[in-house]
Amino acid sequence: MVTRIEVFTKTNFPDAIGNEVASEIANIGITFVDEIRTVQVYLIDGNLSKEDIKRICSELLIDGLTQDYVCINGLSERSADIQTGKMKFGQKGRKDNAVYTIEVARKRGVMDPVESTVIKGIRDLGLSAKSVKTAKRFLLAGSLTIEQVETIADKVLANKIIEDVFINKDNLFYEDKNDTIDYVFHRNTLEILNADDEQLLLISQMGQLYLNLQEMKAVQEYFATFGRNPTDVELETIAQTWSEHCMHKTFRGIIDYDGKLIDNLLANTVMKVTSELNKPWCVSVFKDNAGIVEFDENYNICFKVETHNHPSAIEPYGGANTGIGGVIRDTLGTGLGAKPILNTDVFCFGPLDMRQEMIPEGVLHPKRIFKGVVAGVRDYGNRMGIPTANGAIFFDERYTGNPLVYCGNVGLIPKDKCKKVSHEGDLILLVGGRTGRDGIHGATFSSVELTHQSEVVSGGAVQIGDPIMEKKVTDALLMARDRGLYNNITDCGAGGLSSAVGEMGEELGAVVDLEKVPLKYDGLSYSEIWISEAQERMVLSVPPGNMEEIREVFEREDVEVTFIGKFTGDKRLRLRYKGEDVADIEMAFLHDGLPGMTRKATWRSPSHKDPAINEKKDYGEDLKKILSSWNVCSKEWVIRQYDHEVQGGSVMKPLQGVNNDGPGDACIIRPVLNSNKGIIVSNGMNPKYGDIDPYYMAASAIDEALRQIVSVGGSLERVALLDNFSWGNTSKPECLGGLVRAAKGCYDTALYYETPFISGKDSLNNEFKSGDKTISIPPTLLISAICIMPDVTKAISMDVKSPDNLIYILGMTKNELGGSHYYYIHGFIGNSVPKVDTGIGKKTMDLLASATEKGLVRSCHDCSEGGLAVAAAEMSFAGGYGMELDLSQVPVEEGVDRDDVILFAESNSRFIVEVQPEKHQEFEKTISGIPYGCIGKVLDDDIFTILSQNGEKVISEKISDLKEAWQATLRL
């Protein structure tokens, strides 16, 4: 019997979720809602007496102090009318108010971890329930039309991709008629041997395989040699293995770049830097799920950043959830498994204040995507107990239909656990969550462009994560690792078991009995089981002798384990379902059979003229405008929602200064608590430069990531980089040309700074089609950097420390306003993009690092978006002291004579540094040989002043006004 239980907050306590929802509704412009209450609904199925239900409610489901409940069935008939009874709802406000209810429940098959928790809680009470379903119910009172209520449901309360919505329906019991559908085995083969070109493409399209004609022909040829047609699961396996997401065929293929052939762009650029630099501390690069570098005598560090763009566009919360969950599993699946110790997150969205009518059909508003993504990362990272201490958010209208979500994770791994290899005869062990229809076709979906149809066609590609499952897997896994119970491990990510087993068994071959895979619900075909991207699963290669012990380790932590097959030695991938063969492909064909691809690329620099902006006497307003712009403004609203201190290693936090709210450059953590050895993590990205030339965008991104490392007290000696390219449609030659430019920029700049790449990832085809319009994202390269810091007590923050200290600028300021925020606020792009000066860039960073090491630096901040003026202003208001600076003392390139250029140019490799007067001689001695200027000092007041080259005040603002401008934008 099913009992429906409705739990709600007592009237004399605030309804936290209700209040949040109220402000969201006001945000979309509906102002006639007088009252909102939320109700948590549980539907419990089981053989339970009225007394049992009463105990479940009062002891488990409600907080007796703040909440009350009603039951339908079981306890009594709806004992109180929730709308007018105990809850006293709908009595405030206008007299003619109507009351509406909106009930939201996850669709069948969509993960809801609460269900199993409630079953566990009921078991602890000594009772048992067969199943639990949950829903959320919202009561609204106001002078609203039904259309407005539907809009509220659609825009605020529910996402129809994963949830069902019921308006004004009471006493729902969600009886599911499909519960009893069993799967009846039937081997599906597809007729391809006799198919012509058109039919081949149709097969690819119908099956959502996204294989092109050349690839389909290679498949046809392969099966022709055996004289048989492939099964559906064979085609799926090939499509998944050959997808752009898994194979990186653009980067690894042949590119005809304006007549010059590049065979494997990756090997010729980012990977080449690493082999040429040949750093002995690089332990594993571009091989494993994450790159590995040395840390100390006991541990190494691994680092990986992934993108999860397409799912986040459709279901931001679930997309971000699974993005962060997935990259954490990359770390868990590196070597024999690393402990996740730090998350980083970088997002690109449309501007949050975009008018609704500017949003294309089928697209969620940027604000909704932003909030959903932040909540998704927050809930997953916080629940996993991993600090999120570094990140960035970038806004541009072109991300509206195709937002970018980069999730990164750093792991700590014992030195002797970095190598892995499966042995012939090892058993294939699947651990973690159960398998459902989640995310079918995620790998192929993430390799194509989005359309307004995407949410309809690809709903299945969206998943919700279960961080507690992943935490349990992590805890058990690291114990099994330390006991040496398995030989190899990888995560189930895009492509599910197909990808995990296919990769691990590449050298040996594997056989899997698909009916053994534990399922969330009946009815999955063998093919769905194989390609499902259900989250929180890992695949291990276990020697048969360890079967029982490893089972015990996982089960003790309540993690399900299932042996599903073994690694054979016959170099074939064989799949069976209840003894029936459903796939048999040679590993060699799967991994090497992809036909080579040649793509055309071309590059012509776009020319955006540098504008003629009149010089002014006062740049205070310009400064405030830049400080309050989306990309520069304070991200405190986001940062505080992330637990950035769990695990106790925090040394340099993302918010710094006298009131803990200034913008830190890079974060520092100590992964081993009894040691002062630390790691610094930073990121660099500026798509605005890519609109002018992706080569310099890449160079500047590397420079920025490195500047941040040096700013907090790191040095270039032990820095490794990650590259994450998110690009538009690379079958367009000019788009691919930009990618080539960026990759070359990576090679030249990383080689110059002697910082190797250790891992990376690309996400291509990031464009959005709406009607006949295609909007491509700007070329977007994220560079993440990680530095090993010998002694964290040498670290410095960006806030100025005390009056009378001197302020220096290091580096050369040039006529480089192209892509700057100064041009941006005036409506221009410009052409004079910042370059990296390979004459002084590295020397500047090296000498600054040695000055910091000597204790000569009190604070330091790098000049990036907004240039000198923004960097100095941030230091000033974060420290709570005024400043007076003199532009005539700034070292400039010949020909620079305008004040606005010196104030706002974004020339690379520049730093603002605070030095105590008594140390200034030693400081200047230490940095001699690079351009620098002592440009002013810290004042014991609250005025931020900059004097022009002629000695007149061009900026004179209260630091509280500057800070307010910087903070107000994202105070949601």
């Binding site: 979720i17 488990l60 907080d63 102090l65 927050r378 507690i468 935490k471 505080r640």
Partner: protein, 274 residues
């Protein structure tokens, strides 16, 4: 008083309870070890299976985290599990003169299982299970990570010295301390069980953001009537080393973090009666 439990090297023994979603165990273990304890991490399944195990420890620690995902309500499901499977053992543990501390999620568990506040010396709220206090959603409706000043108001707890001002971080979404009745709140204060209140940097009672969640009476931590059970929302284990302070680059490195004293007081208390 001498308390039962075997020890190695006469060191107090602490047990940190782990379960699905526990996540501050690593740094809490570090803090306790630094304070001089021997520390074991033990999964709740193991403790339920081997109930005698609890008796071999002196300090029982419920660390921070999101046990069982904080599904239903923060700490609720673990509280329910402990009530139904380890209640007698835990009450015996306290009656034996041993110590219990719950931090953040651990505080939520102690309140929701009724081991706190245990007014009138009997842990009476366990019988009949009428919860008088709770921890609910922050006024901001959001998870927040921020540093707060804690003023100690009582010398009732063996973990805490009176009249000290501690600086430690909070990181929670459901930390607002709420009493069902005004009278119960007064009684709690009268019996000296209000240990920590959120304050400003000078130790004065102040509003948001100093009081980060809107707790009634600014309450951040309370103890039971014996003074041997402490629950607090802020994380003392996150300020053990001087480099954890958010402004150490401004204010210089202190010799140790403010949070260490809480663990050291516990360890010294046990060492004193061993």
């Amino acid at each position: 008083m001498t308390i039962k439990a075997e020890t190695l090297n006469n060191k107090p023994k602490a047990i940190i309870l782990r379960t699905a979603g526990t996540n501050c165990d690593y740094e809490t273990k570090y803090a306790l070890e630094k304070a001089g304890a021997d520390v074991d991490l033990v999964h709740v399944n193991q403790l339920v299976k081997d109930k005698g195990l609890l008796g071999s420890y002196h300090i029982f620690v419920l660390p921070g985290g999101f046990t069982y995902g904080d599904d239903i309500a923060a700490g609720k499901v673990l509280a329910n599990q402990l009530r139904h499977h380890l209640l007698d053992e835990l009450m015996q543990f306290v009656d034996d003169g041993k110590l219990v501390i719950g931090i953040c999620n651990g505080f939520q568990v102690l309140i929701k299982m009724g081991l706190l506040p245990g007014i009138n010396g009997t842990h009476s709220s366990l019988n009949g299970y009428r919860q008088e206090f709770t921890l609910t959603y922050n006024d901001s409706s959001k998870f927040e990570d921020r540093w707060v000043y804690l003023k100690s108001f009582s010398n009732k707890s063996v973990f805490v010295d009176k009249d000290c001002l501690l600086y430690v971080p909070i990181a929670h979404a459901e930390g607002k301390f709420v009493a069902g009745k005004e009278g119960e709140l007064k009684a709690l204060g009268k019996s000296g069980q209000i240990i920590f209140k959120y304050a400003d940097k000078d130790g004065n009672i102040a509003n948001y953001p100093w009081n980060p969640n809107g707790s009634m009476d600014n309450i951040a931590g309370i103890c039971d009537s014996t003074g041997r059970v402490l629950g607090m929302m802020p994380h003392p284990e996150r300020y053990i080393e001087p480099t954890q302070h958010p402004r150490w680059t401004r204010e210089g490195l202190k010799s140790e973090g403010d949070g260490l004293a809480i663990f050291r007081n516990a360890v010294n208390y046990i060492a004193g009666i061993l």
